[in-house]
C-alpha cells in the first residue's frame, strides 16, 4: 500500500529530522528569493526558519550541487609545515529538490569518483537522503526543458523518496531502502493511501509534463554532436561573441564541477582552497608560456557545449545537460543550452 503525507505535517517531520540530519530545505528570504540551506538546530531559530520554508516550484538560483561542492571550499589548513585536513562529513537530508537537480547530483557523484576519488566531495556526499518534490509548474518558465532532456518534471529513479503534489497532501513514492526506512522511522507523519493512488499520480505527472512549455530537439542535438556532424562555425561564433564572461552558466549548472585551487596564505600559515572555475574563461586553458589553444572567444564558449553534449555523453552515457534551464535564466545576455540546441537542430537563427 502506498503512502501519503499531509502538507501540514511537513514542518513537524522536518523538526524531527533535524535531530538526526543536517536538513537542507528551500527557504524564502525577504523579497521572495528562495535558496536551499540547512535548518538551524537551535529551537527558536528553527521555528523561524520553518516559517520560511518553501516547497512550491521555486527557482533555486543555484543547484544543490553546492551542498557537496561549495563554491569556495577549504581543503586543508597549514601552519609551519603541519597540515590539517578539513574534510566535512555529516548526515544530510535534502528535502524538496527537483528531479533535474537530482540528475545533476548523480552526475557529479559519478564524476568525483571516476578517475580518482575526490575525498572532499565524497565525504560530504557520503551519508545522505534525497527527497525529491516533482515540479507541477516549471520553476523557470521558458527556460526549463526537462521533458526534452528526459530528466523531469518527475524523477524515475535515483531518489530515496519522491513527493507528488496532490493539493493538500503529497503522494509518497519510495525509490530506495533508505527511503523506506525513513518512512518507517517517521511513520507517525505518513499515512496509508486508500484510493487509486497510481491513477491519480499518473494524471498529476501527465499534467505537469504538459506545463513545461519549452520543447526542444534535445536527442537530435546529442546525435548531431555524437556523430561529429558539422556544426557551422558561425553559430558558435555568434553565441561566443555575445558572451560577456560572467561565468553564470557554469556556476549555476548542476553538472559543472570544475574548480581552481589556490593558497590563501601569509608567511607559512594559511589554507588551501578550491573555488568554482569556468571553462568560458580565457585563463582556464592559458598555458604557462602565455599560449592558449582556445584563444578566441567563440572557442571558449563552444567548449562548454561540446563538453556537455558530446564528451560527457560519450564517456558516461549520460548527457552533461539536465535541462534545468539555469544557464539561460542566469545569463545576462540570454544565451543558454536550449537556444544552442535550437540553433543547431532547427536550422534557424534563435539568438
Amino acid at each position: 500500500m502506498s503512502k501519503m503525507i499531509e502538507k501540514k505535517k511537513i514542518k513537524g517531520l522536518l523538526k524531527e529530522a533535524v535531530k538526526q540530519w543536517h536538513t537542507y530545505v528551500p527557504q524564502k528570504h525577504i523579497g521572495g528569493d528562495v535558496l536551499i540551506a540547512p535548518l538551524p538546530e537551535e529551537a527558536k531559530e528553527l521555528e523561524a526558519a520553518l516559517d520560511n520554508i518553501s516547497l512550491a516550484d521555486d527557482d533555486l538560483v543555484i543547484s544543490p550541487k553546492d551542498i557537496f561542492f561549495p563554491q569556495l571550499e577549504t581543503m586543508f589548513k597549514f601552519k609551519k609545515g603541519e597540515i590539517a585536513e578539513t574534510v566535512e562529513s555529516s548526515p544530510k537530508l535534502l528535502f524538496g529538490i527537483k528531479s533535474c537537480d537530482l540528475k545533476g547530483i548523480l552526475f557529479a557523484d559519478e564524476f568525483f569518483k571516476r578517475d580518482f576519488e575526490d575525498a572532499y566531495y565524497l565525504s560530504r556526499a557520503n551519508e545522505r537522503l534525497i527527497v525529491v518534490i516533482g515540479c507541477i509548474n516549471p520553476p523557470r518558465p521558458g527556460a526549463c526543458f526537462c521533458t526534452s532532456a528526459k530528466t523531469g518534471p518527475f524523477a524515475e529513479k535515483g531518489f530515496d523518496l519522491q513527493l507528488v503534489d496532490n493539493g493538500e497532501s503529497y503522494f509518497v513514492e519510495t525509490g530506495s531502502e533508505k527511503g523506506e526506512e525513513f518512512v518507517a522511522k517517521y511513520s507517525g507523519f505518513f499515512q496509508d493511501e486508500s484510493g487509486d493512488a497510481e491513477k491519480a499520480v499518473n494524471s498529476i505527472k501527465a499534467k505537469a509534463e504538459k506545463a513545461v512549455e519549452l520543447k526542444i530537439e534535445f536527442q537530435k542535438a546529442l546525435d548531431l554532436m555524437a556523430n561529429d556532424d558539422f556544426i557551422p562555425e558561425e553559430k558558435y561564433k555568434r553565441i561566443g561573441e555575445r558572451c560577456v564572461y560572467c561565468g553564470a552558466c557554469v556556476y549555476t549548472c548542476p553538472t559543472c564541477t570544475c574548480f581552481n585551487v589556490f593558497d590563501n596564505a601569509k608567511g607559512d600559515e594559511g589554507t588551501r582552497v578550491r573555488i568554482w572555475d569556468a571553462c568560458i574563461f580565457e585563463g582556464y586553458t592559458r598555458e604557462a608560456s602565455g599560449h592558449n589553444p582556445r584563444n578566441q572567444k567563440w572557442l571558449m564558449a563552444c567548449r562548454r557545449y561540446e563538453h556537455k553534449l558530446k564528451y560527457d555523453k560519450a564517456k558516461t552515457n549520460m548527457s552533461g545537460c539536465v535541462g534545468c534551464g539555469r544557464c539561460l535564466a542566469s545569463c545576462p545576455v540570454d544565451i543558454g543550452m536550449s537556444k544552442f540546441v535550437q540553433e543547431i537542430t532547427e536550422d534557424k537563427k534563435i539568438m
Partner: protein, 680 residues
C-alpha cells in the same frame, strides 16, 4: 555546522546588484545573485560572483598599527585613537582647522560617509573633505546640476530594457557596468534598438553599433556641438520642449553655428557623414538614452563635456521621460551615496552648500556645534599637494588608495613621503597605507550593516554576514571613537539605522528612507517623505531647477596635446576583471588569473613602425615619469594612441598621467596626456 545566506548589495560597480553571501561557520563560501532584485534579476558579472573571496584573505589588517622607528608595531585601539586625536587637535591649535584633511570612501556605506563629513566638519571644523568622486564624476555633479538642477543619472537601469536608442560615449559599459552593458546588448540584438557609440577606443559594444564615431581623444565638445549644429540645421530640434522647458537656447544656436560637419571632422577625425547619421538617429528617436562615464568626465574640459551632452538632450527633448535622459554611470558601488551624503568639499548631505548660511545654521543646530566653516574646502588632488607642501599637516584617509588612483604618481609619492601625520583606515595594507603613521583596520562590506546608493539613485541595504577579522571594526564605529576622542559627544550610535535616522532629518532627498522602508530592495531618491514611493526617473514635467538651462561651450584643446617628441596620446581606464587599485581583485583568484599583468594597447601599424612584437616589453614615457610594460598589439586603439589599465602597481599608468584639472570640477585629465613609446 552553520550555513546561512545573507542578502546584501555588491561591493563593486554602481549597478548595485542584489546578491547573497553564503556564510559557513564564520567563513564566506559563496556569492549568488538575487533573482527578484530589480537590477541583478538572477545574474551577476564575474566580479559579483566572486565578491566573497577577498573577505577571507589572510592579508586582512587585523590590528591597529602605529609607525615607530620606521616600521609598524601592533597597537591597541585606545592608543591608536588617542594618538590621532592628540595630533589632530595639536595641528588644529597650531595651524588652524584647515591644516587637517579627510578623504572619505565610495567603497564604504552612506552612513560612514555621512559620519566622515560630520567628523571633518563638526569635530575638526574643516571642509577639507573629499573622495574619489572627484576623480570620476565631479564633472557630472557640477555640469548636470548647472543645466538640469540635479547631478545624477536621470533614468533607472530597467528603463534600458525599453529604450530604442542608446548613445554611449566614454563608457566601456560591458566592462564597467556589466549588467547595464548586457541590457544594451539584449536591446540591440533582441529588439533592434539603435546604438551610437562615440569612443576613440573600440569597445566590446562597438561590434553592435549602428554608428561608430571614433573621435580623437579630448575633442568631445567639438563633436557634440557638431551634432547639435546638424540637428538645428535639419530642423530636428524639439521646438516646443525648448520653448516650454528650457532657457538660453539663443546662445546655443549662436555658438554651434560654426561647428559644421566639415569643421568638426577637421578637429575630431570623425567623418562628417557619420556625424550627420548619428545626429539624425539620436534626434528622431524618442526613447533615446545618453550613457556616459569617464571618457566624458576625466578631462580638463570635463564640465564642458557634460554640459554639452545636457544641451544635446534638451535640444531634442530627450529628458524627463522613461527611457529618455542623460545617464552618467557611477563607477563605485557607493560613489553616488558618498556624494549624496556630503563627502565633498563644498556641500553637506543632499548637496546643501557649505557657503549657504542657512544650511550651516541647520547643521550647527542639529549637530549641536558652533562655527561650522563656510569656506569651500580642498579637493582630492589639492589635498595631496597641500600635504606635500606642509599646508595640510594631518590627513585621514578612509578606504582610498591615492598612491595608485591619483594622477602623477611620482608627485603623489613625494607628497605622501612628506606627510607630517597620515592616518589610513582600510582592510588591506595598500600602497598608500605603507606611508601611514597610524593604520586602522576597517570592516569589509560583508562585515557590517549599512546602505549603498547605486547609479540609479537606489539606496539599498548592506547586511552583515560575518564578523570582521581580529580586532577590525566597522568604519562607522571607528569614526565615532575618533570623534569622542576629539572631544565631541554628538557621535554615538548603536546601529547604522540610527545614523540613517539622522541623515533622513537633515537630507531632504533621503527624507523617506528609513531602514524599514529600504527592505527588500531599496528606494530611489528623491524620496522626501515616509510616504513617498521614490523616483525612478528625474525631471518629469519640469527640471529640478525649474527651467533647464542651455550652457553652450566652445571647444578647447586638452592640456597636453601631442608634439613631435611625445607623439602618442595616452588614455587610461578600467578593465572588466579588475577593480580600481586592485586591492580586492588581486586577492580574488579567478579575477587575478584572468588579468595577471599590466599592458599597453598599441595599434599594429605603430607597433610595426617601432619594431615592437606582441607581448614584448616596451617603455612608455611621459614628462612626469616612465614605466616598462608589456605591449598588447590591437586595433582597439587608433594610430598614435595607447591605452593602459590603471590597476597595476607593477606598471602604474598614473606614473605617466598629468594632474591638470578641470577648473570647476577639479577632476584630473586621465584621458589625455602625451607620451612616447620606446622599444627596449
Amino acid at each position: 555546522m552553520s550555513l546561512k545566506h545573507v542578502l546584501t548589495t555588491c561591493i563593486y560597480c554602481g549597478c548595485g546588484c542584489g546578491l547573497y553571501l553564503t556564510e559557513n561557520d564564520g567563513v564566506l563560501t559563496g556569492a549568488y545573485p538575487s533573482v527578484k532584485h530589480p537590477v541583478s534579476k538572477g545574474s551577476l558579472c564575474v566580479k559579483g560572483w566572486n565578491s566573497h573571496e577577498f573577505v577571507n584573505h589572510m592579508d586582512r589588517l587585523t590590528h591597529p598599527l602605529i609607525r615607530e622607528k620606521g616600521s609598524f608595531r601592533k597597537a591597541t585601539w585606545e592608543e591608536a585613537i588617542a594618538l590621532i586625536a592628540k595630533r589632530f587637535k595639536g595641528f588644529m591649535k597650531e595651524s588652524g582647522s584647515d591644516s587637517l584633511a579627510f578623504l572619505s570612501s565610495a567603497k564604504t556605506t552612506n552612513e560612514e560617509n555621512f559620519l566622515m563629513m560630520k567628523l571633518a566638519r563638526a569635530v575638526f571644523k574643516t571642509n577639507n573633505i573629499d573622495h574619489c568622486a572627484r576623480l570620476c564624476h565631479a564633472s557630472t555633479v557640477a555640469g548636470l546640476a548647472a543645466t538640469f538642477g540635479s547631478g545624477a543619472m536621470t533614468n533607472s537601469i530597467n528603463e534600458f530594457e525599453e529604450a530604442d536608442c542608446f548613445f554611449i560615449t566614454g563608457s566601456d559599459t560591458t566592462a564597467q557596468h556589466p549588467l547595464i552593458g548586457s541590457r544594451i546588448i539584449n536591446s540591440v540584438l533582441n529588439r533592434s534598438a539603435k546604438l551610437i557609440i562615440a569612443d576613440p577606443r573600440k569597445i566590446e559594444l562597438s561590434k553592435y553599433a549602428t554608428v561608430n564615431l571614433r573621435q580623437k581623444n579630448g575633442t568631445d565638445v567639438a563633436w557634440i556641438n557638431g551634432m547639435m549644429h546638424v540637428i538645428i540645421k535639419e530642423g530636428l530640434e524639439d521646438k516646443e520642449y525648448i520653448k516650454e522647458r528650457t532657457e538660453g537656447y539663443e546662445q546655443l544656436q549662436e555658438l554651434v553655428k560654426k561647428y559644421t560637419p566639415e569643421y568638426v571632422e577637421a578637429l575630431t577625425t570623425i567623418p562628417k557623414e557619420d556625424l550627420i547619421k548619428a545626429a539624425r538617429i539620436y534626434a528622431t528617436t524618442k526613447k533615446a538614452m545618453i550613457v556616459y562615464a569617464m571618457g566624458i568626465t576625466q578631462h580638463t574640459t570635463g564640465v564642458d563635456n557634460v554640459k554639452s551632452l545636457a544641451n544635446l538632450a534638451m535640444l531634442t527633448g530627450h529628458v524627463g521621460f522613461p527611457s529618455a535622459g542623460v545617464n552618467p554611470l557611477r563607477g563605485q558601488n557607493n560613489v553616488q551615496g558618498a556624494c549624496d551624503l556630503g563627502a565633498l568639499s563644498n556641500v553637506y548631505s543632499g548637496y546643501q552648500s557649505v557657503t549657504d548660511e542657512n544650511s550651516r545654521l541647520k547643521f550647527e543646530k542639529a549637530w549641536n556645534v558652533n562655527g561650522l566653516p563656510g569656506n569651500v574646502g580642498l579637493t582630492v588632488t589639492e589635498i595631496i599637494s597641500a600635504l606635500g607642501e606642509g599646508k595640510v599637516r594631518g590627513l585621514y584617509i578612509m578606504g582610498e588608495n591615492p598612491m595608485i588612483s591619483d594622477p602623477d604618481q611620482n608627485h603623489v609619492r613625494k607628497c605622501l613621503e612628506k606627510a607630517e601625520f597620515l592616518v589610513v583606515q582600510d582592510i588591506f595594507m595598500t600602497d598608500t597605507a605603507v606611508f601611514a603613521d597610524v593604520i586602522l583596520p576597517g570592516a569589509s562590506f560583508a562585515e557590517k550593516d549599512g546602505t549603498f546608493t547605486n547609479t540609479e539613485r537606489r539606496c539599498e541595504r548592506v547586511r552583515k554576514a560575518v564578523n570582521p577579522p581580529g580586532e577590525a571594526k566597522a568604519d562607522w564605529e571607528i569614526l565615532c571613537e575618533v570623534a569622542r576622542a576629539g572631544g565631541y559627544t554628538g557621535m554615538s550610535y548603536k546601529h547604522p539605522s540610527e545614523i540613517m535616522e539622522e541623515i533622513r532629518t537633515l537630507t531632504p532627498i533621503y527624507g523617506g528612507m528609513s531602514y524599514e522602508r529600504l527592505d527588500p530592495y531599496g528606494l530611489q531618491w528623491p524620496c522626501p517623505t515616509l510616504e513617498h514611493p521614490g523616483t525612478p526617473y528625474l525631471h518629469k514635467d519640469k527640471f529640478s531647477k525649474g527651467k533647464g538651462t542651455f550652457m553652450p561651450r566652445p571647444f578647447l584643446e586638452p592640456k597636453e596635446p601631442t608634439d613631435e617628441e611625445f607623439n602618442f596620446i595616452l588614455s587610461t581606464g578600467r578593465i572588466y576583471w579588475h577593480w580600481h587599485t586592485r586591492t580586492l581583485t588581486e586577492r580574488t583568484s579567478t579575477l587575478e588569473r584572468e588579468a595577471p599583468a599590466p599592458y599597453v594597447e598599441i595599434h599594429p601599424e605603430d607597433a610595426a613602425e617601432l619594431g615592437i612584437r606582441n607581448k614584448e616589453k616596451v617603455r612608455v614615457i611621459s614628462r612626469r615619469g616612465q614605466i616598462e610594460i608589456q605591449a598588447l598589439i590591437t586595433e582597439k586603439v587608433v594610430r598614435k594612441s595607447c591605452f593602459i589599465p590603471f590597476h597595476y602597481r607593477e606598471a602604474a599608468a598614473n606614473v605617466l598621467t598629468i594632474n591638470a584639472v578641470d577648473p570647476i570640477a577639479k577632476i584630473p585629465e586621465y584621458k589625455v596626456c602625451a607620451v612616447k613609446v620606446e622599444k627596449i
